[in-house]
Symmetry: C2
Subunit: 383 residues, 2 copies
Amino acid sequence: MSVSGPLSGVVVADLSRILAGPYCTMLLAELGARVIKIETPGTGDDSRHYGPFVNGKSAYFTSVNRGKESIALDLKKSQDKAIFEAILTKTDVLVENFRPGTMEKLGFGWERLKALYPRLIYAAASGFGHTGPYAQHPAYDMVVQGLGGIMSINGHPGQPPARVGVSVGDLGAGLYTTVAINAALYHRAMTGEARKVDVGMLDCQMSLLENAIVRYNATGKVPGPLGARHPSITPFEPYHTADGLLIIAGGNDGLFAKLAMALGLEALPSDPRFKTNDLRSQNAEALKVALESVLRTKPMDHWVQVLETAGIPCGPINTIDRALKHPQVSARNMLVTVDDPVIGPIKVAGNPLKIEGFADPATRPPAPELDGDRARILAELGL
Amino acid sequence: MSVSGPLSGVVVADLSRILAGPYCTMLLAELGARVIKIETPGTGDDSRHYGPFVNGKSAYFTSVNRGKESIALDLKKSQDKAIFEAILTKTDVLVENFRPGTMEKLGFGWERLKALYPRLIYAAASGFGHTGPYAQHPAYDMVVQGLGGIMSINGHPGQPPARVGVSVGDLGAGLYTTVAINAALYHRAMTGEARKVDVGMLDCQMSLLENAIVRYNATGKVPGPLGARHPSITPFEPYHTADGLLIIAGGNDGLFAKLAMALGLEALPSDPRFKTNDLRSQNAEALKVALESVLRTKPMDHWVQVLETAGIPCGPINTIDRALKHPQVSARNMLVTVDDPVIGPIKVAGNPLKIEGFADPATRPPAPELDGDRARILAELGL
């Protein structure tokens, strides 16, 4: 079922559920790995029960599990343990996102795995990582978005805190885990050594908060929500035109000079309030008044054309339906079709990992039925 | 200057500026690669001029460029071109985030690079990718957050759209580029072939929007901002206690039953409105009323203890200062010290890519002065 890619030939045994782990293994599948999902008999991955449903089947599940295989195993039973161990003899990378300690309880702690399967890379994605005083605490995306601080800088000042509109806790952890697994595969290729990867969602939030952290540590001021502005780049926010909000981003003096010229505001770049990016950030409100005095005179389409001609990054605030219709989305094959036997054909996000020479087809295989690949997997193992 | 890691021995020539590329090469440096930053003479990376400044030096720049080396080269001049070409003979991965076409104009298009340096992996991170009708359009984080749709689902209903509180456009592109580079390194190790990586920020937004995309495609309803709630998991939001908001996340029936028990609401799981996650999501407001009727009777600290004992993921909404004081952050070494000669010691986000057997020291080398490593780099090249 796997696609062609840099990880062709790599086998992933995937014990992960819901989002952080499954998003990671979906990316591994997009890179050409074969992903065997090992699920709890009866219920399977929790996200099989998350909406929206189409003809009774979870589209949520399809989105991040397309192109994987499934076998249902109860790792507390000896017969199923033996099947799992047979799978591990063929596995390059084991991925799980249990609470730390679960693998040890099941008899598959890293020390034992390492001894039995010396070429096995073991990747654990957990809420708080496998070390430290909070290692045993359970966490979901939302908890880590709260604890980690990202909600406190997301949204508008004076409003209640807003969750980031995507599951940045889970997706972030999935991405860092994917980075670490690929690095560990490279390391194994170079040295023969297989290592354990230990990614914590809270750690990942810290890395994503790098700019907020350094702002706080440099100034002592606690960062608050900035609405739609960038904290240290100006102009870099939505501005009012005659008929809607247009985002304009001018990250350096050259772009700012071009912007001023394009708007017929030639005096702005030499205005002492706006001479440098730092001064523009300090005087962002005054700059907004000056820019909008011109922008409000004409509609958005007019300004998009003027600014794009001048080479200034700008664009509208699209809703999801409009974003998906952007011609670049289809040109880059960023909506692929899964032809699911129950759901029917449904479009899901494509593969952003574009690497020369590997196929990027317009379709992806469906997400597996629970235990749907048992017979074939057992036959391959001679069981 | 490099740390020990799975990419030890890998040399990265880094033409990238501001955030997406530099964040990628910072992660490569954390994985043990040597990163040589090639900057424009005089001004250097734009982000050297982004605040906050400490003693006149950009802390923004330090955050994502610690541990790299710098040489200033004008790639339009033949003498500097020759130095760049000498560097490329020692380079495993070239990273740039120019507008597509820039490398060709400089005489370093992929076809020529591939012919001259057959082991060179070339990674380009751009706004819209290197193909398609929008390839030539400039983009910054903010433009892609707007165009891609993420702003339309971020924030509270009825409020103006909010930018995600971190630069998820740039950081996302940086992360996917890092994944692709590591996969390309593995592929090169296995086959000897070096490939081009072409990551577009808009593509990355689509991948991060996977759930919103599948919700829209499954239901036809355009996703809007959901404030602080998860769109398809309930309970999964902040609830009022006697003295503040507490996030509670119960992603499956088992956790929901435990939560109901812990709150003394034993009848809830058999209530027809709350029997499944999907029903709970449809009746989220009614569930909130039921849960808060109990939660409001006691302070947050009380409930954190009760729920954690019961194994239910929960936590407060921290500001950045409080998040950084979380004991798990220091236990996981997620704040490392850069002892900068100008700024002084400053704490920045640590390395979330925890891989067994590699050092994760408490300090990192400073970000380089512009052109600060010229003499040593030239000497190494025999120039």
